[in-house]
Subunit: 319 residues, 2 copies
Amino acid sequence: MRCFLKTSKGSCGELGEKRLISKITETMRRYGVAEPSPSGPGDDCAALPAKNFGSNMLCTSDAVILGVHFSESDNPRLAGAKLLKRNISDIAAMGGKPLYALSSAIISKNLSARWLGEFCRGLCEAAREYGIKFCGGDLARVEGSFFSMHLSLLGSGAKRLLARSGGKEGDLIYVTAPLGGSFESGKHLKFVPRLKEAQFLLNYGGVGACMDISDGIASDLKCLIPDGCRAVLENVPQTVFRGREVGLKKALCDGEDYELLFSHSGNADRLQKAYKRKFGKELYLIGRFEKASKKEDRGKIFVKTASSVEEFTGSGFEH
Amino acid sequence: MRCFLKTSKGSCGELGEKRLISKITETMRRYGVAEPSPSGPGDDCAALPAKNFGSNMLCTSDAVILGVHFSESDNPRLAGAKLLKRNISDIAAMGGKPLYALSSAIISKNLSARWLGEFCRGLCEAAREYGIKFCGGDLARVEGSFFSMHLSLLGSGAKRLLARSGGKEGDLIYVTAPLGGSFESGKHLKFVPRLKEAQFLLNYGGVGACMDISDGIASDLKCLIPDGCRAVLENVPQTVFRGREVGLKKALCDGEDYELLFSHSGNADRLQKAYKRKFGKELYLIGRFEKASKKEDRGKIFVKTASSVEEFTGSGFEH
Protein backbone atom coordinates (compact mmCIF):
# COMPACT_ATOMS: atom_id res chain seq x y z
CA MET A 1 0.00 0.00 0.00
CA ARG A 2 1.29 3.43 -0.96
CA CYS A 3 2.44 5.50 2.00
CA PHE A 4 2.98 8.97 0.49
CA LEU A 5 0.70 10.33 -2.25
CA LYS A 6 1.55 12.52 -5.25
CA THR A 7 -1.74 14.46 -5.18
CA SER A 8 -3.73 15.74 -2.22
CA LYS A 9 -6.67 13.38 -2.89
CA GLY A 10 -6.87 10.89 -0.02
CA SER A 11 -4.01 12.54 1.88
CA CYS A 12 -3.85 13.52 5.53
CA GLY A 13 -3.38 17.16 4.42
CA GLU A 14 -6.74 17.05 2.64
CA LEU A 15 -8.47 15.78 5.78
CA GLY A 16 -6.94 18.36 8.16
CA GLU A 17 -5.97 18.01 11.80
CA LYS A 18 -9.38 17.96 13.49
CA ARG A 19 -10.93 15.38 11.17
CA LEU A 20 -7.81 13.22 11.31
CA ILE A 21 -7.91 13.19 15.12
CA SER A 22 -11.65 12.39 15.01
CA LYS A 23 -11.01 9.48 12.65
CA ILE A 24 -8.22 8.06 14.83
CA THR A 25 -10.29 8.45 18.00
CA GLU A 26 -13.27 6.85 16.22
CA THR A 27 -11.11 3.83 15.27
CA MET A 28 -10.00 3.51 18.90
CA ARG A 29 -13.61 3.58 20.12
CA ARG A 30 -14.67 0.99 17.53
CA TYR A 31 -11.99 -1.38 18.81
CA GLY A 32 -13.04 -0.67 22.41
CA VAL A 33 -9.57 0.63 23.29
CA ALA A 34 -10.42 4.22 24.30
CA GLU A 35 -12.39 5.07 27.40
CA PRO A 36 -14.56 8.19 27.65
CA SER A 37 -13.03 11.38 29.04
CA PRO A 38 -11.56 12.01 31.61
CA SER A 39 -9.86 8.55 31.42
CA GLY A 40 -9.75 8.69 27.63
CA PRO A 41 -8.92 11.26 24.95
CA GLY A 42 -10.78 14.58 24.88
CA ASP A 43 -9.43 16.77 27.67
CA ASP A 44 -6.12 18.56 28.32
CA CYS A 45 -4.90 15.47 30.18
CA ALA A 46 -6.23 12.02 30.84
CA ALA A 47 -7.10 11.45 34.51
CA LEU A 48 -6.45 7.83 35.47
CA PRO A 49 -7.41 6.33 38.83
CA ALA A 50 -4.09 6.07 40.73
CA LYS A 51 -5.32 2.93 42.50
CA ASN A 52 -5.21 1.02 39.17
CA PHE A 53 -1.41 1.13 39.21
CA GLY A 54 -0.64 -1.09 42.20
CA SER A 55 2.46 -0.15 44.21
CA ASN A 56 4.59 0.98 41.28
CA MET A 57 3.44 2.93 38.28
CA LEU A 58 5.62 1.79 35.38
CA CYS A 59 6.18 4.08 32.41
CA THR A 60 8.17 3.80 29.22
CA SER A 61 8.33 5.59 25.88
CA ASP A 62 9.34 4.39 22.41
CA ALA A 63 8.67 5.45 18.84
CA VAL A 64 8.50 3.90 15.42
CA ILE A 65 9.75 5.97 12.48
CA LEU A 66 9.12 5.09 8.86
CA GLY A 67 12.46 4.24 7.28
CA VAL A 68 14.06 3.41 10.62
CA HIS A 69 11.90 0.88 12.47
CA PHE A 70 9.90 -0.29 9.46
CA SER A 71 9.82 0.42 5.75
CA GLU A 72 7.24 1.55 3.22
CA SER A 73 6.93 -2.02 1.93
CA ASP A 74 5.95 -3.40 5.36
CA ASN A 75 2.34 -4.01 6.22
CA PRO A 76 1.19 -0.84 8.05
CA ARG A 77 -0.95 -2.90 10.46
CA LEU A 78 2.14 -4.80 11.59
CA ALA A 79 4.05 -1.52 11.95
CA GLY A 80 1.26 -0.11 14.14
CA ALA A 81 1.25 -3.25 16.27
CA LYS A 82 5.04 -3.07 16.55
CA LEU A 83 4.84 0.40 18.10
CA LEU A 84 2.67 -0.89 20.92
CA LYS A 85 4.52 -4.20 21.33
CA ARG A 86 7.97 -2.51 21.64
CA ASN A 87 6.62 -0.63 24.62
CA ILE A 88 4.80 -3.66 26.06
CA SER A 89 8.11 -5.52 25.90
CA ASP A 90 9.65 -2.90 28.23
CA ILE A 91 6.79 -3.20 30.73
CA ALA A 92 7.08 -7.01 30.54
CA ALA A 93 10.83 -6.87 31.24
CA MET A 94 10.08 -5.15 34.57
CA GLY A 95 7.47 -7.77 35.50
CA GLY A 96 4.57 -5.34 35.03
CA LYS A 97 1.19 -5.24 33.34
CA PRO A 98 0.47 -2.64 30.62
CA LEU A 99 -2.63 -0.49 31.11
CA TYR A 100 -2.75 2.88 29.32
CA ALA A 101 -1.13 4.41 26.22
CA LEU A 102 -0.61 7.96 24.96
CA SER A 103 0.20 8.14 21.24
CA SER A 104 1.62 11.10 19.33
CA ALA A 105 2.18 11.26 15.60
CA ILE A 106 4.34 13.47 13.38
CA ILE A 107 3.09 13.35 9.79
CA SER A 108 3.61 15.15 6.49
CA LYS A 109 0.53 16.28 4.59
CA ASN A 110 1.16 13.91 1.65
CA LEU A 111 0.78 10.86 3.93
CA SER A 112 -2.01 8.61 2.70
CA ALA A 113 -5.00 8.75 5.06
CA ARG A 114 -5.78 5.14 4.14
CA TRP A 115 -2.24 4.03 5.05
CA LEU A 116 -2.50 5.88 8.38
CA GLY A 117 -5.88 4.22 8.97
CA GLU A 118 -4.29 0.79 8.53
CA PHE A 119 -1.43 1.70 10.86
CA CYS A 120 -3.94 2.78 13.50
CA ARG A 121 -6.00 -0.38 13.05
CA GLY A 122 -2.88 -2.45 13.74
CA LEU A 123 -2.22 -0.36 16.82
CA CYS A 124 -5.80 -0.82 18.04
CA GLU A 125 -5.83 -4.58 17.36
CA ALA A 126 -2.72 -4.96 19.51
CA ALA A 127 -4.24 -2.75 22.22
CA ARG A 128 -7.37 -4.91 22.28
CA GLU A 129 -5.29 -8.09 22.44
CA TYR A 130 -3.26 -6.86 25.42
CA GLY A 131 -6.11 -5.04 27.22
CA ILE A 132 -4.57 -1.57 26.81
CA LYS A 133 -6.64 1.65 26.67
CA PHE A 134 -5.59 4.82 24.84
CA CYS A 135 -5.90 7.84 27.06
CA GLY A 136 -4.70 10.64 24.81
CA GLY A 137 -2.26 11.87 22.24
CA ASP A 138 -1.20 14.56 19.89
CA LEU A 139 -0.66 15.20 16.18
CA ALA A 140 1.87 17.50 14.51
CA ARG A 141 2.67 18.17 10.87
CA VAL A 142 6.05 18.59 9.17
CA GLU A 143 7.21 19.29 5.61
CA GLY A 144 8.56 16.61 3.27
CA SER A 145 7.62 12.93 3.44
CA PHE A 146 7.66 11.86 7.05
CA PHE A 147 5.86 9.62 9.49
CA SER A 148 6.65 8.76 13.08
CA MET A 149 4.51 7.80 16.01
CA HIS A 150 5.55 7.99 19.60
CA LEU A 151 3.96 6.02 22.37
CA SER A 152 4.17 6.34 26.11
CA LEU A 153 2.90 3.29 27.93
CA LEU A 154 1.84 3.21 31.56
CA GLY A 155 1.48 0.01 33.53
CA SER A 156 1.11 -1.39 36.99
CA GLY A 157 3.87 -3.08 38.90
CA ALA A 158 3.95 -5.06 42.14
CA LYS A 159 6.33 -4.06 44.96
CA ARG A 160 8.84 -6.58 43.61
CA LEU A 161 10.09 -5.72 40.11
CA LEU A 162 12.48 -7.28 37.62
CA ALA A 163 15.30 -4.73 37.41
CA ARG A 164 18.51 -4.50 35.41
CA SER A 165 20.56 -4.05 38.54
CA GLY A 166 19.78 -7.29 40.41
CA GLY A 167 22.49 -9.60 38.97
CA LYS A 168 25.09 -11.33 41.16
CA GLU A 169 28.37 -13.15 40.61
CA GLY A 170 27.64 -16.77 39.74
CA ASP A 171 24.15 -16.08 38.29
CA LEU A 172 23.36 -18.06 35.15
CA ILE A 173 22.27 -16.08 32.07
CA TYR A 174 19.21 -17.03 29.99
CA VAL A 175 17.28 -15.90 26.93
CA THR A 176 13.71 -16.82 25.97
CA ALA A 177 14.35 -17.65 22.28
CA PRO A 178 17.05 -17.96 19.61
CA LEU A 179 18.45 -14.58 18.61
CA GLY A 180 19.40 -12.59 15.50
CA GLY A 181 18.06 -11.90 12.02
CA SER A 182 15.01 -10.09 13.31
CA PHE A 183 14.85 -7.64 10.40
CA GLU A 184 15.40 -10.23 7.63
CA SER A 185 12.96 -12.74 9.11
CA GLY A 186 10.26 -10.16 9.82
CA LYS A 187 10.29 -11.05 13.52
CA HIS A 188 10.82 -7.37 14.39
CA LEU A 189 7.20 -6.84 13.24
CA LYS A 190 5.64 -10.09 14.44
CA PHE A 191 7.26 -10.77 17.83
CA VAL A 192 5.20 -11.49 20.91
CA PRO A 193 6.14 -9.44 23.98
CA ARG A 194 7.15 -11.76 26.83
CA LEU A 195 4.55 -10.65 29.37
CA LYS A 196 3.52 -14.13 30.53
CA GLU A 197 7.09 -15.41 30.64
CA ALA A 198 8.16 -12.44 32.80
CA GLN A 199 5.21 -12.99 35.16
CA PHE A 200 6.19 -16.65 35.47
CA LEU A 201 9.80 -15.69 36.29
CA LEU A 202 8.71 -13.08 38.84
CA ASN A 203 6.56 -15.69 40.63
CA TYR A 204 9.15 -18.48 40.28
CA GLY A 205 11.73 -16.32 42.09
CA GLY A 206 15.51 -16.21 41.98
CA VAL A 207 15.75 -13.82 39.01
CA GLY A 208 18.69 -11.44 39.36
CA ALA A 209 18.90 -8.92 36.51
CA CYS A 210 16.37 -8.73 33.68
CA MET A 211 15.77 -6.66 30.53
CA ASP A 212 14.32 -7.05 27.06
CA ILE A 213 16.74 -7.30 24.13
CA SER A 214 16.36 -4.31 21.85
CA ASP A 215 19.90 -3.39 20.72
CA GLY A 216 21.33 -6.95 20.71
CA ILE A 217 22.94 -8.63 23.71
CA ALA A 218 26.42 -7.48 22.62
CA SER A 219 25.20 -4.11 23.85
CA ASP A 220 22.30 -4.91 26.20
CA LEU A 221 24.00 -7.58 28.34
CA LYS A 222 26.61 -5.01 29.43
CA CYS A 223 23.81 -3.23 31.34
CA LEU A 224 23.29 -6.35 33.49
CA ILE A 225 26.84 -7.42 34.41
CA PRO A 226 27.39 -7.03 38.19
CA ASP A 227 30.30 -4.94 39.52
CA GLY A 228 33.64 -6.72 39.33
CA CYS A 229 32.27 -9.39 36.97
CA ARG A 230 32.37 -10.38 33.32
CA ALA A 231 29.76 -12.30 31.33
CA VAL A 232 30.93 -15.56 29.76
CA LEU A 233 28.68 -16.88 27.01
CA GLU A 234 28.41 -20.40 25.60
CA ASN A 235 25.84 -21.98 23.27
CA VAL A 236 24.00 -18.80 22.29
CA PRO A 237 20.97 -20.06 20.29
CA GLN A 238 20.76 -18.60 16.81
CA THR A 239 17.62 -18.00 14.79
CA VAL A 240 17.21 -20.43 11.91
CA PHE A 241 16.27 -18.42 8.86
CA ARG A 242 16.03 -19.76 5.28
CA GLY A 243 17.26 -23.12 6.60
CA ARG A 244 20.46 -21.90 8.27
CA GLU A 245 21.49 -20.30 11.52
CA VAL A 246 22.14 -16.55 11.35
CA GLY A 247 25.61 -16.92 12.93
CA LEU A 248 26.94 -15.93 16.34
CA LYS A 249 27.85 -12.35 15.43
CA LYS A 250 24.36 -11.54 14.16
CA ALA A 251 22.74 -13.36 17.09
CA LEU A 252 24.67 -11.10 19.47
CA CYS A 253 24.57 -7.84 17.51
CA ASP A 254 21.43 -7.61 15.38
CA GLY A 255 18.99 -6.18 17.90
CA GLU A 256 15.19 -5.94 17.91
CA ASP A 257 14.81 -9.48 19.29
CA TYR A 258 12.39 -8.36 22.03
CA GLU A 259 13.19 -11.48 24.03
CA LEU A 260 13.91 -11.51 27.75
CA LEU A 261 17.55 -11.58 28.83
CA PHE A 262 17.95 -12.36 32.51
CA SER A 263 20.14 -13.88 35.17
CA HIS A 264 19.05 -16.45 37.75
CA SER A 265 20.73 -17.78 40.85
CA GLY A 266 18.90 -21.12 41.24
CA ASN A 267 19.13 -24.61 39.76
CA ALA A 268 19.12 -24.45 35.94
CA ASP A 269 17.59 -27.83 35.25
CA ARG A 270 14.64 -27.24 37.57
CA LEU A 271 13.96 -23.76 36.14
CA GLN A 272 14.17 -24.96 32.54
CA LYS A 273 11.84 -27.91 33.20
CA ALA A 274 9.27 -25.71 34.99
CA TYR A 275 9.42 -23.22 32.10
CA LYS A 276 8.97 -25.97 29.52
CA ARG A 277 5.99 -27.44 31.43
CA LYS A 278 4.38 -24.01 31.56
CA PHE A 279 5.03 -22.79 28.00
CA GLY A 280 5.91 -25.92 25.99
CA LYS A 281 9.16 -24.33 24.76
CA GLU A 282 12.81 -24.07 25.71
CA LEU A 283 14.43 -21.56 28.02
CA TYR A 284 18.00 -21.11 26.78
CA LEU A 285 20.90 -21.11 29.24
CA ILE A 286 23.62 -19.07 27.51
CA GLY A 287 26.24 -18.22 30.11
CA ARG A 288 27.22 -17.00 33.52
CA PHE A 289 28.41 -13.91 35.42
CA GLU A 290 31.93 -14.69 36.61
CA LYS A 291 34.30 -12.76 38.80
CA ALA A 292 36.71 -10.88 36.50
CA SER A 293 40.17 -11.55 37.86
CA LYS A 294 41.68 -8.95 35.52
CA LYS A 295 40.41 -5.41 36.08
CA GLU A 296 40.21 -4.70 32.34
CA ASP A 297 37.77 -7.60 31.85
CA ARG A 298 35.14 -6.13 34.12
CA GLY A 299 31.80 -5.36 32.48
CA LYS A 300 32.84 -7.13 29.29
CA ILE A 301 31.39 -10.04 27.34
CA PHE A 302 33.41 -13.20 26.58
CA VAL A 303 32.57 -16.17 24.38
CA LYS A 304 33.67 -19.65 25.40
CA THR A 305 34.45 -22.26 22.79
CA ALA A 306 35.84 -25.79 23.12
CA SER A 307 39.37 -24.44 23.13
CA SER A 308 39.30 -20.87 24.46
CA VAL A 309 37.50 -17.95 26.14
CA GLU A 310 37.74 -14.79 24.09
CA GLU A 311 36.39 -11.29 24.45
CA PHE A 312 33.50 -10.50 22.11
CA THR A 313 34.18 -7.07 20.67
CA GLY A 314 31.22 -6.66 18.29
CA SER A 315 28.82 -3.89 19.22
CA GLY A 316 25.06 -3.79 19.33
CA PHE A 317 22.63 -2.15 16.99
CA GLU A 318 22.22 1.64 17.20
CA HIS A 319 18.77 2.76 16.06
CA MET B 1 23.71 29.26 17.36
CA ARG B 2 23.97 26.89 14.40
CA CYS B 3 21.59 23.96 14.59
CA PHE B 4 22.78 21.67 11.77
CA LEU B 5 26.48 21.29 10.91
CA LYS B 6 28.14 20.86 7.53
CA THR B 7 30.89 18.55 8.82
CA SER B 8 30.72 15.75 11.37
CA LYS B 9 32.93 17.61 13.88
CA GLY B 10 30.80 18.48 16.92
CA SER B 11 27.74 16.71 15.54
CA CYS B 12 25.44 14.24 17.27
CA GLY B 13 26.44 11.64 14.67
CA GLU B 14 30.08 11.94 15.75
CA LEU B 15 29.14 11.35 19.39
CA GLY B 16 26.92 8.30 18.76
CA GLU B 17 23.77 7.16 20.55
CA LYS B 18 25.25 5.85 23.82
CA ARG B 19 27.43 8.89 24.52
CA LEU B 20 24.63 11.25 23.55
CA ILE B 21 22.27 9.57 26.02
CA SER B 22 24.99 9.67 28.72
CA LYS B 23 25.52 13.38 28.11
CA ILE B 24 21.79 14.14 28.32
CA THR B 25 21.37 12.04 31.46
CA GLU B 26 24.45 13.71 32.97
CA THR B 27 22.92 17.16 32.33
CA MET B 28 19.71 16.03 34.04
CA ARG B 29 21.62 14.80 37.08
CA ARG B 30 23.63 18.03 37.28
CA TYR B 31 20.39 20.02 37.43
CA GLY B 32 19.00 17.62 40.04
CA VAL B 33 16.07 16.68 37.80
CA ALA B 34 16.67 12.93 37.37
CA GLU B 35 16.31 10.46 40.18
CA PRO B 36 18.33 7.23 40.34
CA SER B 37 16.86 4.08 38.80
CA PRO B 38 14.22 2.63 39.20
CA SER B 39 12.48 6.05 39.54
CA GLY B 40 14.83 7.64 37.03
CA PRO B 41 16.38 6.72 33.67
CA GLY B 42 18.40 3.50 33.33
CA ASP B 43 15.99 0.57 33.25
CA ASP B 44 13.41 -0.69 30.74
CA CYS B 45 10.76 1.40 32.50
CA ALA B 46 10.73 3.90 35.31
CA ALA B 47 8.94 2.61 38.41
CA LEU B 48 7.21 5.48 40.20
CA PRO B 49 5.51 5.15 43.60
CA ALA B 50 1.77 5.10 42.77
CA LYS B 51 1.00 6.86 46.06
CA ASN B 52 2.72 10.02 44.76
CA PHE B 53 -0.13 10.58 42.30
CA GLY B 54 -3.01 11.33 44.67
CA SER B 55 -6.45 10.17 43.51
CA ASN B 56 -5.96 10.85 39.82
CA MET B 57 -2.83 10.26 37.82
CA LEU B 58 -2.81 12.95 35.11
CA CYS B 59 -0.95 12.36 31.88
CA THR B 60 -0.44 14.36 28.72
CA SER B 61 1.90 14.30 25.74
CA ASP B 62 3.15 17.07 23.45
CA ALA B 63 6.13 17.61 21.17
CA VAL B 64 8.18 20.47 19.82
CA ILE B 65 9.48 20.18 16.27
CA LEU B 66 12.14 22.44 14.78
CA GLY B 67 10.50 24.47 12.02
CA VAL B 68 7.02 24.00 13.47
CA HIS B 69 7.00 25.03 17.13
CA PHE B 70 10.21 27.05 17.05
CA SER B 71 12.78 28.04 14.46
CA GLU B 72 16.53 27.74 14.03
CA SER B 73 16.96 31.40 15.01
CA ASP B 74 15.24 30.92 18.39
CA ASN B 75 17.29 30.43 21.53
CA PRO B 76 17.53 26.62 22.00
CA ARG B 77 17.21 26.99 25.80
CA LEU B 78 13.84 28.70 25.37
CA ALA B 79 12.77 26.00 22.90
CA GLY B 80 13.69 23.30 25.45
CA ALA B 81 11.79 25.10 28.18
CA LYS B 82 8.81 25.48 25.84
CA LEU B 83 8.57 21.71 25.41
CA LEU B 84 8.15 21.22 29.13
CA LYS B 85 5.93 24.27 29.66
CA ARG B 86 3.46 23.24 26.92
CA ASN B 87 2.88 20.03 28.81
CA ILE B 88 2.79 21.74 32.23
CA SER B 89 0.09 24.02 30.82
CA ASP B 90 -2.09 20.95 30.14
CA ILE B 91 -1.61 19.61 33.67
CA ALA B 92 -2.38 23.10 35.05
CA ALA B 93 -5.60 23.30 33.03
CA MET B 94 -6.87 20.18 34.83
CA GLY B 95 -5.98 21.62 38.25
CA GLY B 96 -3.08 19.18 38.73
CA LYS B 97 0.54 19.25 39.80
CA PRO B 98 3.29 18.07 37.39
CA LEU B 99 5.68 15.40 38.73
CA TYR B 100 7.50 13.21 36.18
CA ALA B 101 8.54 13.54 32.53
CA LEU B 102 9.58 11.06 29.83
CA SER B 103 11.39 12.70 26.90
CA SER B 104 12.07 11.21 23.48
CA ALA B 105 14.08 12.81 20.72
CA ILE B 106 14.28 12.23 16.97
CA ILE B 107 17.49 13.71 15.57
CA SER B 108 19.54 13.69 12.39
CA LYS B 109 23.25 13.01 12.66
CA ASN B 110 24.25 16.50 11.46
CA LEU B 111 22.54 18.10 14.48
CA SER B 112 25.01 20.13 16.51
CA ALA B 113 25.75 18.44 19.85
CA ARG B 114 26.30 21.89 21.36
CA TRP B 115 22.88 23.08 20.16
CA LEU B 116 21.25 19.94 21.60
CA GLY B 117 23.12 20.54 24.86
CA GLU B 118 21.61 24.04 25.09
CA PHE B 119 18.13 22.70 24.31
CA CYS B 120 18.50 20.12 27.11
CA ARG B 121 19.78 22.76 29.54
CA GLY B 122 16.63 24.82 28.88
CA LEU B 123 14.53 21.72 29.46
CA CYS B 124 16.36 20.96 32.73
CA GLU B 125 16.15 24.56 33.99
CA ALA B 126 12.39 24.48 33.50
CA ALA B 127 12.16 21.07 35.19
CA ARG B 128 14.09 22.39 38.20
CA GLU B 129 11.88 25.48 38.38
CA TYR B 130 8.66 23.42 38.41
CA GLY B 131 9.95 20.53 40.54
CA ILE B 132 9.69 17.93 37.76
CA LYS B 133 11.87 14.80 37.55
CA PHE B 134 12.84 13.02 34.34
CA CYS B 135 12.16 9.31 34.58
CA GLY B 136 13.21 8.07 31.16
CA GLY B 137 13.26 8.54 27.44
CA ASP B 138 14.42 7.42 24.10
CA LEU B 139 16.52 8.59 21.16
CA ALA B 140 16.10 7.76 17.46
CA ARG B 141 17.97 8.92 14.37
CA VAL B 142 16.61 9.91 10.96
CA GLU B 143 18.14 11.07 7.67
CA GLY B 144 18.16 14.71 6.54
CA SER B 145 18.11 17.69 8.88
CA PHE B 146 15.57 17.05 11.58
CA PHE B 147 14.95 17.61 15.26
CA SER B 148 11.91 16.91 17.39
CA MET B 149 11.47 16.08 21.03
CA HIS B 150 8.42 14.50 22.51
CA LEU B 151 7.50 14.73 26.13
CA SER B 152 4.99 12.82 28.21
CA LEU B 153 4.25 14.48 31.50
CA LEU B 154 2.69 12.74 34.51
CA GLY B 155 1.14 14.61 37.38
CA SER B 156 -1.05 14.23 40.43
CA GLY B 157 -4.64 15.36 40.59
CA ALA B 158 -7.11 15.66 43.44
CA LYS B 159 -10.51 13.94 43.24
CA ARG B 160 -11.98 17.19 41.91
CA LEU B 161 -10.52 18.22 38.55
CA LEU B 162 -10.98 21.12 36.15
CA ALA B 163 -12.53 19.46 33.07
CA ARG B 164 -13.58 20.70 29.65
CA SER B 165 -17.06 19.26 30.09
CA GLY B 166 -18.25 21.12 33.21
CA GLY B 167 -19.76 24.27 31.60
CA LYS B 168 -23.42 25.25 32.07
CA GLU B 169 -25.85 27.68 30.43
CA GLY B 170 -25.39 31.12 31.97
CA ASP B 171 -21.74 30.55 32.96
CA LEU B 172 -19.48 33.55 32.40
CA ILE B 173 -16.34 33.00 30.29
CA TYR B 174 -12.89 34.24 31.39
CA VAL B 175 -9.28 34.28 30.19
CA THR B 176 -6.17 34.90 32.30
CA ALA B 177 -4.43 37.39 29.94
CA PRO B 178 -4.80 39.30 26.67
CA LEU B 179 -4.61 37.01 23.64
CA GLY B 180 -2.97 36.82 20.21
CA GLY B 181 0.38 37.53 18.59
CA SER B 182 2.17 34.83 20.55
CA PHE B 183 4.58 33.96 17.73
CA GLU B 184 5.48 37.54 16.80
CA SER B 185 5.93 38.68 20.39
CA GLY B 186 7.94 35.63 21.44
CA LYS B 187 5.39 34.78 24.13
CA HIS B 188 5.11 31.24 22.69
CA LEU B 189 8.64 30.64 24.06
CA LYS B 190 8.46 32.70 27.25
CA PHE B 191 4.98 32.07 28.63
CA VAL B 192 4.41 30.98 32.22
CA PRO B 193 2.10 27.97 32.61
CA ARG B 194 -0.90 28.93 34.79
CA LEU B 195 -0.38 26.37 37.55
CA LYS B 196 -0.97 28.73 40.48
CA GLU B 197 -3.93 30.42 38.83
CA ALA B 198 -5.59 27.04 38.18
CA GLN B 199 -5.01 25.96 41.80
CA PHE B 200 -6.58 29.21 42.97
CA LEU B 201 -9.64 28.63 40.75
CA LEU B 202 -9.99 25.01 41.90
CA ASN B 203 -9.99 26.13 45.54
CA TYR B 204 -12.21 29.17 44.91
CA GLY B 205 -14.91 26.91 43.43
CA GLY B 206 -17.64 27.51 40.88
CA VAL B 207 -15.50 26.78 37.81
CA GLY B 208 -17.51 25.05 35.09
CA ALA B 209 -15.38 24.15 32.06
CA CYS B 210 -11.64 24.82 31.83
CA MET B 211 -8.81 24.30 29.34
CA ASP B 212 -5.58 25.93 28.26
CA ILE B 213 -5.56 27.88 24.98
CA SER B 214 -3.28 26.20 22.47
CA ASP B 215 -5.05 26.52 19.09
CA GLY B 216 -6.75 29.89 19.74
CA ILE B 217 -10.17 30.30 21.33
CA ALA B 218 -11.87 30.38 17.89
CA SER B 219 -11.14 26.67 17.95
CA ASP B 220 -10.62 25.83 21.64
CA LEU B 221 -13.73 27.51 23.07
CA LYS B 222 -15.92 25.20 20.94
CA CYS B 223 -14.73 22.31 23.15
CA LEU B 224 -16.27 23.99 26.21
CA ILE B 225 -19.72 25.15 24.98
CA PRO B 226 -22.46 23.20 26.82
CA ASP B 227 -25.12 21.26 24.85
CA GLY B 228 -27.80 23.50 23.37
CA CYS B 229 -25.76 26.66 23.98
CA ARG B 230 -23.70 29.17 22.07
CA ALA B 231 -20.80 31.31 23.34
CA VAL B 232 -21.26 35.07 23.06
CA LEU B 233 -18.05 37.09 23.37
CA GLU B 234 -17.56 40.74 24.22
CA ASN B 235 -14.42 42.74 25.12
CA VAL B 236 -11.87 40.07 24.27
CA PRO B 237 -8.54 41.53 25.52
CA GLN B 238 -5.89 41.75 22.81
CA THR B 239 -2.15 41.58 23.31
CA VAL B 240 -0.44 44.94 22.84
CA PHE B 241 2.58 44.37 20.64
CA ARG B 242 4.81 47.08 19.14
CA GLY B 243 2.46 49.67 20.65
CA ARG B 244 -0.78 48.39 19.12
CA GLU B 245 -3.36 45.72 19.79
CA VAL B 246 -3.08 42.62 17.62
CA GLY B 247 -6.74 42.83 16.55
CA LEU B 248 -9.75 40.68 17.38
CA LYS B 249 -9.21 38.10 14.65
CA LYS B 250 -5.63 37.36 15.73
CA ALA B 251 -6.63 37.36 19.40
CA LEU B 252 -9.18 34.64 18.68
CA CYS B 253 -7.28 32.64 16.05
CA ASP B 254 -3.52 32.85 16.63
CA GLY B 255 -3.05 30.05 19.13
CA GLU B 256 -0.17 29.19 21.47
CA ASP B 257 -1.41 31.61 24.15
CA TYR B 258 -1.14 28.98 26.92
CA GLU B 259 -3.57 30.98 29.04
CA LEU B 260 -6.49 29.47 30.93
CA LEU B 261 -9.92 29.69 29.30
CA PHE B 262 -12.72 28.79 31.69
CA SER B 263 -16.33 29.32 32.62
CA HIS B 264 -17.63 30.23 36.08
CA SER B 265 -21.10 30.32 37.53
CA GLY B 266 -20.57 32.77 40.42
CA ASN B 267 -20.42 36.54 40.90
CA ALA B 268 -17.95 38.08 38.45
CA ASP B 269 -16.96 41.12 40.49
CA ARG B 270 -16.13 39.04 43.58
CA LEU B 271 -14.09 36.52 41.57
CA GLN B 272 -12.15 39.20 39.70
CA LYS B 273 -11.35 41.09 42.93
CA ALA B 274 -10.19 37.93 44.71
CA TYR B 275 -8.02 37.05 41.71
CA LYS B 276 -6.51 40.54 41.60
CA ARG B 277 -5.77 40.46 45.34
CA LYS B 278 -4.04 37.12 44.94
CA PHE B 279 -2.03 37.73 41.76
CA GLY B 280 -1.97 41.52 41.33
CA LYS B 281 -3.32 41.26 37.79
CA GLU B 282 -6.62 41.23 35.91
CA LEU B 283 -8.86 38.27 35.21
CA TYR B 284 -10.65 39.05 31.93
CA LEU B 285 -14.39 38.43 31.63
CA ILE B 286 -14.95 37.90 27.90
CA GLY B 287 -18.44 36.44 27.46
CA ARG B 288 -21.14 34.00 28.44
CA PHE B 289 -22.69 30.66 27.47
CA GLU B 290 -26.23 31.42 26.32
CA LYS B 291 -29.06 29.15 25.32
CA ALA B 292 -29.05 28.93 21.49
CA SER B 293 -32.63 29.51 20.42
CA LYS B 294 -31.79 28.52 16.82
CA LYS B 295 -30.57 24.95 16.42
CA GLU B 296 -27.90 25.99 13.89
CA ASP B 297 -26.29 28.33 16.44
CA ARG B 298 -25.50 25.55 18.92
CA GLY B 299 -21.84 25.05 19.68
CA LYS B 300 -20.87 28.20 17.80
CA ILE B 301 -19.06 31.38 18.81
CA PHE B 302 -20.65 34.84 18.42
CA VAL B 303 -19.15 38.27 18.90
CA LYS B 304 -21.26 41.07 20.38
CA THR B 305 -20.62 44.67 19.40
CA ALA B 306 -22.50 47.87 20.28
CA SER B 307 -24.93 47.27 17.42
CA SER B 308 -25.09 43.53 16.70
CA VAL B 309 -24.29 39.91 17.63
CA GLU B 310 -22.59 38.09 14.79
CA GLU B 311 -21.19 34.62 14.34
CA PHE B 312 -17.39 34.48 14.39
CA THR B 313 -16.35 32.22 11.54
CA GLY B 314 -12.55 32.41 11.76
CA SER B 315 -10.86 29.15 12.66
CA GLY B 316 -8.09 28.36 15.09
CA PHE B 317 -4.49 27.58 14.46
CA GLU B 318 -3.64 24.11 13.15
CA HIS B 319 -0.14 23.04 14.16
